[in-house]
Structures are given as C-alpha cells and as structure tokens.
C-alpha cells in the first residue's frame, strides 16, 4: 500500500503518527482515504496555496497532472510538504 509521510506541523491532526499506509489506486483516492480517516486534515490538504506533494522524492504538479490521474504504486511514498520557517 502507498505510504503517506506526515510532516511535523500536521501530526497533531493524525494522532501524532509519522506515516500512514493507505489504500488508493490514485493520488486522489489516497488523499481522500487519509481525509476520511482524519477529517481535521482536510483544510491543510486542500489548501494547495501552501501544500506541495512529492511522490518518491519527485514533485507532482497536481493542478497540471490531476489528482485522479496520478496512479499510485504499491511501494510509493507520498511526502506532504508545507512551508516551515522556524529558525
């Protein structure tokens, strides 16, 4: 199953879990499964102004490629990247 890595600032919404394995054939299904498990994540994940998504270290242009057209593979690792500025 694809694995989603949760960045530190969002862990409070997922019971402080570091990573979550989810069923999902597409990126859309994977993210929907995550939101359905943790609805409080919805605002952060749908706010594409700040959110960037990387799969296996490569950035996905979700606007261009489309959430549902990005096909997930068994061992894919999804990184949710939001800006942090702590110094």
């Amino acid at each position: 199953m694809p694995k989603v890595i949760i960045p530190s600032p969002l862990r409070e919404y997922v019971d402080e879990r570091y990573e979550i394995q989810l069923e999902g054939k597409s990126l859309a299904e994977t993210i929907e499964a995550l939101i359905s498990m943790y609805p409080d994540l919805r605002p952060a994940l749908l706010d594409t102004l700040f959110l960037s998504i990387f799969i296996n270290g490569k950035k996905i242009d979700v606007e261009k490629e489309g959430w549902d057209r990005v096909i997930m593979n068994e061992d894919d690792e999804v990184s949710l990247i939001i800006p942090i500025a702590g110094g």
Partner: protein, 261 residues
C-alpha cells in the same frame, strides 16, 4: 584582530581532510559569510563557521535575547537576557576564535537595507524565523548572484537546501506562498543539527569540496531519525528567478560540485 592561537595549528584536523590542506584553509580565511538570524539555526551555523576559520562573519538579528530562546540558542547565555542578540553572539563567537572578523548588525532585514547587510559576502546562510525576511533575502541573493543556504526547523524536523539560480530553484520556486510567521515548537538538538548541515554546505562551497545540495532538499526528521531527499525543480515562471538564464553554469565548480569563491 590578532589571533591568540597560531593561525593554522588550530585547523590541523580539518586541513588533514583529503583534498583540503592549506589551500582550503586559505579559501576559508578569505571568505565572508552572512548569517541572517541568530536563533537556533544561527547559533549552530555561526559557531561552526567561526570554528572552521572563515575570515569574516557578518551576523544579523534585530531581536533581543529572551528567556524562551535559551533552550536552543547557545550563542546567548542567561546573563545575555535583554541584550541585543547580535552583541551577545559577537561576545561568544569572539571568545571561540579571535582570528575571525565578526561584524554584528542589529537590524531587521528588509528590502531597504538588504543590499547593505548582504553586500560583499561570498555566501549567505538563511537562519531567519519568518518567510517575509526569507523572501527579501532570497530575492536579493538571486539578483546579486550570491548563493544562499536555506534551512528551517519545526519541532524535531528540519530542511536544508543550497540555492544558486540558475543552477537551482530559488525559495520562491519551492514555496511561492507561505503563511505568516508564528511561534513554533523547536528542540535545540533539531535546530543544531540543521544549522550544522547549513554550515557544512557553506564550508563545502567556500572550499570547493564535496557535492552541494543543489536542486535537492534534505529533510531530517528527528522523531523517526530519518533523512529523506526531495528533488527540486525551477519554476520557469518564477517572479523572482524566472528571468535568470536557464542552463547557465554560473558557479565555477562544475556540475554539482562545490565551487571556490
């Protein structure tokens, strides 16, 4: 300032690194670095650069030392509470290596003063705690053609990347938008780890050794003790660096290799 310790003896252990030697130490001695922000990251960056023997270190922070800084900002001591961070940091750094010229600046970096603060530097290390200042520094670095080492922390997690458009994206390519600044939780060991990695990048660039984090963002999560790497790409429409020529190799070191200054 005259160093109290013979200038090269103290660097013996790093001069013994393969490919370094006296030439590398001379490059460090002739370099100048701006450390923007003297918090958790800045403490680790400035300390490492002073110990490594950079010639000139400009340290900039407008804040005064607060008691809540002391869990991670080891440049400042209990007796420094209420003092200017730039002044407090200068005292600590000068006591570590009297051979380094340290220039304290107690200013908040903005579009009006960035050229004066960052001008003439070999490289900039961004240790600020807000995107407003980071964007100002990024824009100036892109326009001036000076490399910038980005670092940021949150909790036990942090990120580092080396920016030098057009070889790499700039901060605005990676994060075109950012939320307003706020107080975030940070463990000192996390900011120390990330700051040390930023200093490593700056030293590698100056000395011309190793492979820089160009077009790559290193993410360290202290909670899981996991490092991962993201591939970064330029945004050709970036309002900050989009007009900087694609495909040019401005750094003299060659593909992916650190360059001399």
């Amino acid at each position: 300032m005259t160093s109290l310790v013979p200038s090269f003896d103290r660097y013996q252990r790093q001069m013994g690194l393969p490919g370094w030697g006296r030439d590398a130490q001379e490059r460090l001695r002739h370099s100048s670095v701006l450390v923007a922000g003297l918090g958790g990251l800045g403490s680790a960056v400035a300390t490492n650069l002073v110990l490594a023997g950079v010639g000139r270190l400009r340290i900039c922070d407008a804040d005064t030392v607060d008691v809540t800084n002391l869990n991670r900002q080891f440049l400042h001591k209990e007796g420094s509470i209420g003092s200017r961070k730039a002044s407090s940091a200068m005292d600590t750094l000068a006591s570590l290596n009297s051979g380094v010229e340290i220039e304290p600046v107690s200013s908040c970096i903005d579009a009006g003063n960035v050229a004066e603060i960052a001008g003439g530097m070999s490289i900039i290390v961004d240790c600020l705690d807000n995107f407003e200042g980071r964007y100002v520094l990024n824009r100036w670095a892109v326009e001036a053609g000076i490399p910038l080492v980005h670092g940021a922390v949150w909790g036990l997690e942090g990120r580092v990347t080396f920016m030098a458009p057009p070889r790499t994206p700039c901060l605005a390519c990676i994060f075109p938008n950012a939320p307003p600044a706020g107080s975030v939780p940070v463990l000192g060991a996390a900011s120390c780890a990330i700051g040390s990695l930023q200093a490593m990048e700056a030293v590698k660039y100056i000395v011309g050794q190793g492979r820089l984090l160009e077009g790559r963002m290193l993410i360290f999560d202290g909670a899981t003790m996991r490092f991962c790497e993201l591939e970064l790409r330029r945004n050709s429409q970036c309002p900050v660096c989009g007009r900087v020529g694609h495909g040019k190799n401005r750094l003299p070191g060659g593909s992916g290799k650190a360059s001399s200054v």
